[in-house]
Amino acid sequence: MRRIRFLAWAEVLHVVRDRATLAQVLVLPLLQLLVLSNAATFEIRDVPTYVVDFDRTTASRGLIDRFVASGNFSIVGRSASLDLANEEMLRGRITLLLTIPHDFESSLVRDHSARVQLAVNAEKGSAAGVVQSYAVRILTAYSAELGSTLLPTIANVRSTVGDQPPVRGGGRIETPLRSRYNQTLNYKHYMVPGLLVALVTLIATLVSAQNIAREKELGTLEQLNVTPLTRGQFIAAKLLPFWVLGMLDLAIGLTAGWLIFDIPVRGSLLLLFGSAAVYLVAALAIGLWISAMVETQQQAMFVTFFIMNIYLLMSGLFTPIDSMAAWVQTVSLFNPVRHFVTISRAVLVKGAGPAEIAGPLAVLAAFAVVTLALAIRQYSKRTA
C-alpha cells in the first residue's frame, strides 16, 4: 500500500508542477463545454422560409401569421413567383418553401379541405424531418382553429355559402400534448449531460495514454521496473491520481453546466458520481492499456484520438442510438461511453434511480474489470 501511495503522490506532483498540464486538465474542459454546447446542436429555430402566396386572402394570411408566431420559422422572402423561390432554394438560402394555391380559402369554405405545398430543402440534413413535423403541427392547429372560429366568420363576411351552422365538438378527439423532461425543448439540456461524459473521457484517456509512453521515452520506466513494485500496484498507482482528477473534472463541469446553462439535476448526484467512479476506472484502464502498448507519446496520441473518435461518434452523444443502423446498435453495446452517456442523461434529466440504471451500470462494472485486467497484462516489466 505504501508503495502505491508513493508512486501516486509522485504522479500528483507531476500534474501540479507542470502548469501547462494543469491548465489542460482544469481549464480546457470548461472551454470545451462552452464551445461544444453551442456548436454541437441540431436545435432548430428561425428556419429560413420563403412564402409564395397565390391566394392573398384572410385564410392564407392567417396561415402565414401562424408560421411566424410559432417562433420556429422566419420568413425571409415572399413573392408570387415560383421561379424566384426555386432560385433561392438552389442557392441554399432557404430551408422551407410554403406555397399556398390560389383557391386556398375558397376550397376551405366550399369543401372544408384545402392543399398547401411544403418543399423542404433536405440539403440541410437532419433539420428536414423536424422542419416538416413543425410545419405539419402548425397546419393541424390552424385547421382546428379554422373549424371552430375563423371559417364561420370568413364565410359570414363573404356570405356566399355561409348557410352551414357550425357544429362544434361532435365526437372530436382532443389530443393534449406533453413533452416530458424537456418542456422548453432546450437542446442544451440534452447536450450538456452528454458533453460532460465526453470531457471526462477525453481528459482521462488522453492523460493516462500519454503517461506510461512518456516514462518509456524518458527512460524512467526502466527504473520503476527494477523496483519491487508489482504490475498490479504499478497500474493502481498510475490510475488513482487520474481517477481523482476525472472526478474533479466532472464536478467542475457539472457546476459550470448548472450555473451557466441551468441544466436540470433531477436525480441523485451520489448516484451519478458513483457511476462515474466505476466508469472512470474503465476509461483510465483503456488509456493505460494503450500507453503500455505503444512506444512513443506521438503514437499514443494518434491511437487514442482514433479510438476516441469512434467511441464518441458511436455513443449516442451527438445522434440518438435509436436512429443508428441495427448492427451499429449492437456494436455500440461494447462501447463504455454509450452506457455512461445513457446513465448521465437518465439521472440528470429524467431523474432515474438506481433500479432504472442498473443495466448500464452493471455493464460498466464489467468493462472496468476487463480493461483493468488487460492493462495489467499489457504492462510487462521486461523490455524486449
Partner: protein
C-alpha cells in the same frame, strides 16, 4: 550538369526520401489509410437522425372498441412498435427513465362512450423530449395516426382539413450519408493535409534535420514542395477513394461535374496544406504542432463547417467565426455539386473565397518559412 538540373534532381531526391519516410512508418500509414474508410462507414450507418420504430407505451384504463381500434392502428403503422399496455399513467415514467419507451398515449376512461355521445374524447400524447428533435418528430407521428382515425369516424362532418403536400428537395430519401460524404471529404483532407504536414515538418525541426536541408542547394520553396507533395497525392487519392466507397456502399449520388469537384478539392487541399505549413513554421515541437492542428483545423472542420451540425443552429458569435473556416466553404461547394448538380455560376462566391484564402495562406506560410532562413 547545369545547376538547374542538379537542383531538380535534388528535389526528386527529397521527394523519394519523404515517400520512404511515409511508407516506413507503418502504424501512421495504417491510421491514415484506414481512417477515411472507417469514417465513411461510421458516418453512413451511425450518424443518422431518422426516427423509426418508435417504442410506444399505451395506457388504456378501460379498453373499448374505439381504443382498441386506435391501438390496432398504432400497431399496424411501421413507424411504431408497441412495447407495453399499462393500466396507469403513473407507470410511464419508469419506462421513460429506463429508455424502454419513447412515447406514451394515454386514453381517458370511457373513451368510446364519450365519442358516441358526441363529447370530446381525450387521448394524451406524452413524449420523452430529452432529445427535443426526436420528441417533436414522434409527437407528429402519433398526431397523424390519431387524426387519420378521427377523420374516418367523422367522415362527412364539418372537420376542416389542410392537406400538406410535402416535397423534399435535393435529397428526397433524406439519406444521411448523402449529406455526410461531402463533409467527410473536407475532414479527411484536413487530417491528411494540415495535421500530417504540420507534424512531418516539425519532426524535421525537432530532430535537427531541417537545418541540413536548409544548407543543401535546395531552395526553400523546393523544400516545402518536396515535403508536401506526397501528402497532396495521398489526400487526392483518399478523396477519390471516399467518393468511390460512398458510391458503392451507400449509393451516394454525384449529380454535378466530377471535374469541377476534383478541381475544388485541389483548391481546398492547397488551403489545408498552407495551414499545415503555417502551423509548423510557428511551432517548435511535434506535440504543440499536433495540438495546434487539432484545435486550429480539425475541430473547426468538424463543428463549424455545417458538416454534422447545421450552421443555422449556431449562435451568431460562432457563425461569425465559421466564416474564416475554409471547410465551411468547401462543404457548401461539394454538397451543391454532388446533390444539386449546380455549376460555377452558383458557386463562384465560395470559389473566390477559397482562392483568396489559398493565396493569403500560401504567401503567409512561405514567408514565415523563409523567415527561419535568415
Amino acid at each position: 550538369m547545369t545547376p538547374l538540373t542538379s537542383r531538380s534532381s535534388a528535389l526528386l531526391g527529397l521527394l523519394r526520401k519523404e515517400t520512404f519516410h511515409i511508407l516506413r512508418d507503418r502504424r501512421t500509414l495504417i491510421v491514415i489509410t484506414l481512417m477515411p474508410v472507417i469514417q465513411v462507414i461510421i458516418f453512413g450507418y451511425a450518424i443518422r437522425t431518422d426516427v423509426e420504430n418508435v417504442r410506444l407505451a399505451i395506457v388504456d384504463p378501460s379498453p373499448d372498441y374505439a381504443t382498441l381500434a386506435l391501438r390496432a392502428r398504432f400497431g399496424a403503422t411501421s413507424a411504431f412498435r408497441i412495447v407495453g399496455v399499462l393500466p396507469r399513467a403513473a407507470d410511464v415514467d419508469g419506462l421513460f427513465q429506463q429508455g424502454l419507451a419513447q412515447e406514451a398515449i394515454v386514453f381517458e376512461p370511457d373513451f368510446a362512450m364519450r365519442l358516441g355521445q358526441g363529447l370530446p374524447a381525450r387521448v394524451q400524447i406524452i413524449t420523452d423530449a430529452t432529445e427535443p428533435n426526436t420528441g417533436s418528430t414522434v409527437q407528429a407521428y402519433a398526431l397523424q395516426v390519431i387524426q387519420g382515425y378521427e377523420r374516418e369516424i367523422r367522415a362527412g362532418s364539418d372537420a376542416v382539413r389542410i392537406v400538406p403536400d410535402v416535397r423534399t428537395r435535393f435529397n428526397p430519401t433524406r439519406e444521411s450519408s448523402n449529406l455526410f460524404v461531402p463533409g467527410l471529404m473536407a475532414f479527411v483532407l484536413t487530417i491528411i493535409s494540415s495535421l500530417m504536414t504540420a507534424i512531418s515538418l516539425t519532426r524535421e525541426k525537432e530532430t535537427g534535420t531541417l537545418e541540413t536541408l536548409l544548407v543543401s542547394p535546395l531552395r526553400p520553396w523546393q523544400i516545402v514542395v518536396g515535403k508536401v507533395a506526397p501528402y497532396l497525392l495521398i489526400g487526392f487519392v483518399s478523396v477519390i477513394g471516399v467518393i468511390i466507397e460512398a458510391r458503392i456502399v451507400f449509393n451516394v449520388p454525384l449529380v454535378g461535374s466530377v471535374l469541377l469537384l476534383l478541381a475544388e478539392g485541389v483548391l481546398f487541399i492547397l488551403v489545408s496544406l498552407s495551414l499545415g505549413i503555417l502551423i509548423s513554421a510557428r511551432t517548435s515541437s511535434q506535440r504543440v504542432a499536433m495540438f495546434g492542428a487539432l484545435v486550429g483545423t480539425m475541430l473547426p472542420t468538424m463543428l463549424l463547417s455545417g458538416f454534422i451540425f447545421p450552421l443555422e443552429s449556431l449562435p451568431w458569435p460562432l457563425r461569425a467565426v465559421s466564416i474564416i473556416v475554409p471547410a465551411r466553404w468547401f462543404v457548401t461547394v461539394a454538397r451543391s455539386i454532388m446533390l444539386k448538380g449546380v455549376g460555377l455560376g452558383y458557386l463562384w462566391r465560395e470559389t473566390v473565397v477559397l482562392l483568396a484564402m489559398a493565396m493569403a495562406l500560401l504567401t503567409l506560410s512561405t514567408r514565415s518559412f523563409k523567415a527561419r532562413l535568415e
